[in-house]
């Protein structure tokens, strides 16, 4: 699954991706505002049946999608490995029977360290998963305990080694910086641990205190404190520097890969390629339409039970909007916004539409221009939202 980083064949990105959302967790993390729920074990089985049913409903409305090649399948959550191997198999089989899956398909599954053993991991590989993504967040035990994560640093390392042993070719871990009580030393310690782990991909995010989360409540009430902005920035700088030293290439604003082991699925989001999404809270982008499913498990199941699509939001993307989305999504990656690709797609020069903005951002030192495409500078990467928002017209 290695690709030469500079000659990434974007044409293969033309194949669709497929996302499956499993909204269950052993325990909801205090900072999480994704569709993920704990204590719903009784509904796992029903949910899996509903998901299979949703796929049927989808193809009856879009029979043509059956023959479109799909080269990435991504089981995200929540924690997809909350399901049993049999339950996962039902979904995988359904997908394989229904759609046209390419031979070299990337199949990713998200999991938590400490919640899966070698035996289970081996069975995942047998099911066809070749890429696994662990929600490690940090290797530091005191922070993990406070976040009510079920694993500790040791278990995280062990999980990675076991995944390797089970036969996963690509292993990602998620790391969060700026966690409550986290220190700069913790970040350095994390980087030190990474050195000896058989992983080839890292996603890293800054902690975001989202409205409605338990963490938000704690921060509002001053019951917990998060690192100051200057420490947060130092953490970010340390991460960027450290990952680079370890040979991880920043190919997307929050994703890093060794030896070109990019997450092919996530690139579909940034490269404006179609993807299907199934499950509660899943999103899809198909034929110029963005759809999202009901986030809540019960209404999702009920909708599908009534043979209706569980879609709650449908947006038809206008050309103008597509042009904007294309720009700010492309700028997230190291390939950047390519003049030719933009023109090929929209039949108009990006300079006609966004010339002033691009020029302004280059002058401000936030974008760099090279060989026909624009990229974020390292300063620009720090102010990504500012750069991206410039492309939103009124």
């Amino acid at each position: 699954m290695k690709t030469d980083s500079n000659t990434l064949n974007l044409s293969t990105l033309g194949d669709m991706g497929l996302y499956v959302h499993i909204p269950f967790c052993k325990q909801k993390c205090m900072y999480c505002d994704f569709p993920a729920y704990q204590n719903l074990q009784d509904y796992y089985e029903t949910y899996v049946y509903a998901l299979v049913q949703e796929i049927d409903l989808w193809v009856s409305e879009h029979p043509e999608s059956k023959s479109k090649p799909i080269d990435t399948i991504y089981f995200g959550g929540g924690t997809p490995t909350e399901l049993s191997i049999q339950q996962l198999q039902m979904i995988v089989d359904k997908i394989k029977r229904t759609f046209t899956i390419t031979d070299d398909c990337h199949m990713t599954i998200e999991s938590n360290p400490g919640e899966v053993d070698l035996q289970y991991l081996t069975k995942l590989v047998k099911l066809g998963f070749n890429r696994i993504s662990f929600g490690v967040q940090t290797f530091d035990d005191k922070t993990l305990t406070m976040l009510h994560r079920s694993h500790n640093g040791e278990k995280a390392k062990q999980a990675v080694h076991e995944a390797k042993e089970a036969g996963f070719t690509d292993i990602n871990i998620d790391l969060i910086y700026g966690l409550p009580r986290q220190t700069l030393e913790d970040i350095q310690h994390n980087l030190h641990i990474l050195k000896d782990l058989p992983i080839n991909h890292i996603s890293t995010y800054g902690l975001q205190v989202e409205v409605g989360t338990y963490l938000y409540h704690l921060v509002q009430k001053n019951l917990i404190s998060i690192p100051s902005e200057s420490i947060d920035e130092a953490m970010y700088d340390t991460m960027m520097e450290g990952l680079k030293e370890l040979g991880f290439e920043r190919y997307e604003i929050s994703n890093f890969a060794k030896d070109g082991s990019y997450s092919r699925h996530n690139l579909k989001y940034w490269h404006y390629v179609d993807y299907l999404g199934f499950g509660a809270g899943a999103h899809s982008f198909y034929d110029g339409i963005r759809r999202s499913n009901n986030r809540n498990v019960m209404p999702y199941i009920q909708a599908v039970d009534r043979y209706t699509m569980p879609t709650i939001d449908t947006e038809t993307i206008t050309v103008g909007r597509a042009q904007e989305d294309f720009c700010f999504l492309a700028l997230r990656t190291k390939w950047g916004l390519d003049e030719q690709k933009f023109e090929d797609r929209f039949d108009v020069s990006v300079h006609n539409l966004f010339g002033n903005i691009l020029e302004d951002l280059v002058t401000k030192g936030l974008l760099e221009y090279q060989n026909g495409s624009y990229h974020l500078s390292s300063e620009g990467a720090k102010h990504g939202n500012y750069v991206f928002s410039q492309f939103i017209r009124e």
Binding site: L207, Q208, S292, D313, K382, H383, S389, I392
Partner: protein
């Protein structure tokens, strides 16, 4: 037609005591409008007025009422604006009436702000009919309120009308009281015509329309009228009365209320307070009480998008047609580009105009800090009027500066006298007099710099007296004051639109407060922004807006691009109300920051 069957009256009430509801009920009860034609609160017709619960433009309506004596009467209800900025307009409306309903809430009782208007009404010799409203409230105590009216205002309340406008109780009693107590206008139909303009309005077909009360003589549909102060003649094109929709009539007899259209192109030729007479038989003297509308407060209005400049000019032109008190002229600012210097009656007037421009003309505006008009005497003997701090000449060219002073009359319960004095002293006020209106009410008179009044005097007064004070002020002239210009530098560059003129003893304090406020208001940007307040070359205060170091790297789960986009849209929308000055983005509120600082 004799004047005996005419009653001209207005309604005086504290805000929320039910003025508009009573007006609605009178209109409805007499069948002037069918219920289905009634938009709630007919009289406050501007959206803004309805939202703010205040009357900005006066309205009037003619009500036909068959009284218990079997006769039909014409009742002209003249509505009055209800804010200190518009006290001149109020006085003109009152001058058009013979009587007033004083509406008092049966639970709340007499409130201080009501007093100012009651005294104004008494000054105009109006017959005042106390009306106690909301008597069906569980907390209503009409007897106590009657006592209050007698004790505090000194009116006989024994025959006060008890009503509940909301449920329609007592409405016929109010109508009877108007007929029986408000005097009919004196019949002076044989005298040369004099009619008082109490309001004006612009109609795109008919031109400026004068709302008048005919005091003497008669106006006929074929007459040529003369504006006595403006000395201009116009041929009447239409006379009308309000039902409340305009209905054409052939004449406006003595004592009546109506309107005149005369192809008057500019509302400026139709001054509130002016006297209308006939060109072929002019009255020797105009009616008393005329005052030219004077702008008290000036500010710059700039479009956030420079392409909207023309639209702003068109909008101001249109608004001015309807609002003779609004003045404007083009000006430019280094920071804000092309815009207009506008003059207003007061801060509320300024607010209202700004809101109307934004709402009715869909403009996004930057308003600069309000300023008063200073007289600057230069060393070369020249006198310069300056209403824009940026235009103040350098100190070396200034001999001295005079600032406008007002006579401010505050009426408060006696317990607050100390508070008022302290506040007025603090605002550079000069004590003039104090008078007990009754056992518990005191009227305190101070001479105050107008600039202090417009900053926050009124707000402070209200909060210091728990809303129990009422304020009225009038311009009395100019006085020499040691005023200096304070500049604000952002990122080292002076921003002309942020300059203010301030008393030199207060420059340091205000400068610090202003810099602190700006620090709060200016969002962090990609670089550090020093904020400095300077008088001449001397920096009196400094604050720093720290740099926005970086965005948070956020997780995007499962391809939720719409959410990403919404975040960006939100960020972008926040930017829309900002103005880029040099490299710094300044939010709209920052230009008004001076109004929000605490001394």
């Amino acid at each position: 037609m004799s004047t005996k069957k005419i009653r001209n009256f207005c309604i005086i009430a504290h805000i929320d005591h039910g003025k508009s509801t009573i007006a609605d009920r009178l209109i409805e009860y007499t069948g002037t409008l069918q219920k289905r034609e009634m938009e709630a609160q007919v009289l406050d017709s501007m959206d803004l007025e309805r939202e703010r619960g205040i009357t900005i433009k006066a309205q009037s309506v003619r009500i036909l009422y068959k009284a218990q004596d079997g006769e039909e009467y014409i009742l002209n209800l003249i509505d009055t604006p209800g804010h200190v900025d518009f006290s001149y307009e109020v006085s003109r409306s009152l001058a058009a009436c013979e009587g007033a309903l004083l509406v008092v809430d049966a639970a709340q009782g007499v409130e201080a702000q009501t007093l100012a208007n009651v005294y104004l009404a008494l000054e105009h010799d109006l017959e005042i009919i106390p009306v106690i409203n909301k008597i069906d409230l569980p907390s209503a105590d009409p007897d106590r309120v009657k006592h209050e009216i007698e004790d505090i205002i000194g009116l006989d309340a024994s025959e006060a009308v008890l009503c509940s406008a909301k449920s329609g109780i007592g409405i016929p009693d109010i109508l009877e009281a108007i007929v029986n107590k408000v005097p009919a206008p004196p019949d002076k139909s044989d005298q040369p015509t004099r009619a008082l303009i109490f309001d004006s309005r612009f109609d795109s077909y008919k031109g400026a329309i004068a709302y008048v009360r005919v005091k003497e003589g008669t106006i006929k549909a074929k007459d040529t009228i003369r504006m006595m102060h403006d000395k201009k003649d116009f041929d009447v094109t239409e006379l009308g009365i309000f039902t409340p929709n305009l209905v054409p009539v052939q004449e406006l007899p003595c004592g009546s209320v109506g309107c005149i259209a005369a192809s008057i192109k500019n509302v400026k030729d139709c001054h509130v307070g002016d006297t209308v007479t006939l060109a072929n038989n002019p009255a020797p003297e105009p009616l008393p009480g005329y005052r030219k509308a004077v702008s008290m407060v000036y500010c710059g209005l700039y479009p956030t998008e420079s392409k909207d400049y023309e639209n702003l000019r068109d909008a101001l032109e249109k608004l001015q047609l309807n609002d003779a008190a609004l003045e404007y002229e083009a000006e430019t600012s280094l920071a804000l580009g092309f815009g207009f210097r506008c003059g207003f009656l007061g801060l509320l007037h300024m607010d209202v105009i700004q809101e109307r421009l934004e709402r009715e003309y869909n403009l996004t505006l930057i308003t600069t800090a309000p300023s008063v008009n200073y007289k600057v005497y230069k060393t070369n003997g020249e006198m310069l009027e300056v209403d824009n701090p940026a235009k103040l000449p350098p100190p070396t060219e200034i001999d001295y500066i005079e600032e406008p002073y007002v006579k401010a009359t505050t009426i408060v319960p006696k317990d607050f006298v100390g508070t008022i004095m302290e506040l007025s002293q603090d605002k550079r006020g000069e004590y003039q007099s104090m008078e007990y209106l009754d056992e518990s009410r005191v009227s305190v008179v101070y001479h105050l710099p107008l600039s202090e009044i417009i900053y926050d005097y009124f707000d402070k007064l209200k909060s210091a007296t728990k809303g129990y004070a009422s304020l009225d002020y009038e311009l009395i002239g100019y006085k020499q004051s040691p005023m200096v210009k304070m500049d604000i530098l952002l990122n080292g560059d002076p921003v002309d639109a942020l300059s203010i003129i301030v008393h030199k003893d207060r420059a340091a304090t205000r400068g610090r407060a202003l810099a602190e406020k700006l620090k709060e208001l200016i969002p962090r940007q990609m670089f550090e922004i020093p904020i400095q307040a300077a008088v001449g070359t001397k920096i009196v205060a400094r604050e720093t807006v720290k740099a926005w170091r970086k965005d948070v790297l956020a997780k995007c789960y499962g391809g939720d691009i719409s959410r990403k986009r919404k975040l960006l849209e939100k960020q972008k929308a926040g930017k829309k109300r900002m103005k880029s000055v040099g490299s710094v983005e300044i939010p709209q509120e920052a230009f008004m920051a001076i109004l929000k600082v605490e001394d």
